[in-house]
């Protein structure tokens, strides 16, 4: 059972920072125009 605040911070940080890093990387490669560019994200229309 994960109890410490470190695990909580890590859990949230991974969810925020990893997609954000991939997002920025993709934008750097393709520009800020393409829909569906988010590799691990929450776009409701790309289900």
């Amino acid at each position: 059972m994960l109890r410490s605040k470190g695990w909580v911070i890590a859990f949230i940080a991974v969810q925020v920072l990893v997609p954000l890093a991939l997002f920025v990387l993709r934008i750097a490669q393709e520009g800020w125009t393409v829909t569906g560019m988010f590799p691990i994200s929450w776009q409701m229309y790309s289900a």
Binding site: R3, F11, W32, T33, M37, S41, W42, M44, A47
Partner: protein, 239 residues
Amino acid sequence: MSDPLRLFRYAFALIACVKAVDLAIRLPDRTDLALPLLAAWLVGTALLVTPRWKVGAFIIAAAGSAIVVAGPLFNHHLYLMVLVGVILSMFDDRWHVFLLRAQLTIVYAFAAVTKINGTYLSGDVLARATERSVLLGDVAIPMWLLVIASAGAIIVEGGLAVALWFRHTRLPAAALGIAFHVPLVLATTYGWSGGAQLFVYSAMALALYLPFWVDSDEVVERAVGHLKGRSLPERPRLS
């Protein structure tokens, strides 16, 4: 566990049932492991409404992860269900409310940010979604309306990411969220599979409103206290 969290768990189980039907249709074409994975998913779903709900949440998380890998069948809402399973099964009870709230904020924030691009704001994405819609497929929707709806979706999702955290804005935000998700599913559903997936996303989002009704201010105070290294006295647990 307080009542809103119990309700959330039941809602999660119900949504997992709908997802099970979707998986039963799509998974057999993708992997030989469809049957055991589906069986595990259903066992986890059933356990969610029992005192062994943590085991159920763990099985949902494990089966969902395996479906993503073995399928491979990745859906954003499936990923969300896996994460909720992880929160409920692997984190201590005192973190559940805070983490579930944070999860919804992350979902809405990324949903809003990823839509801020020319393609989405032009209305093309909504146009494609409504063109194949069961309800609106034959309706000619003016492009200007789709542009406004696209911008509105970004504003609504971005606003919901924040507004649910505050007591004074929580109820209007919840009403806005319902008014946003229900028409979204109705307007863009394009058959069983697409409809089920849109339903699961929206239903998960709406179910995640429930943790915002658990002793709201105490949850924030307690989480901030924990993060700063201070602890409030444990409150009695209802179950």
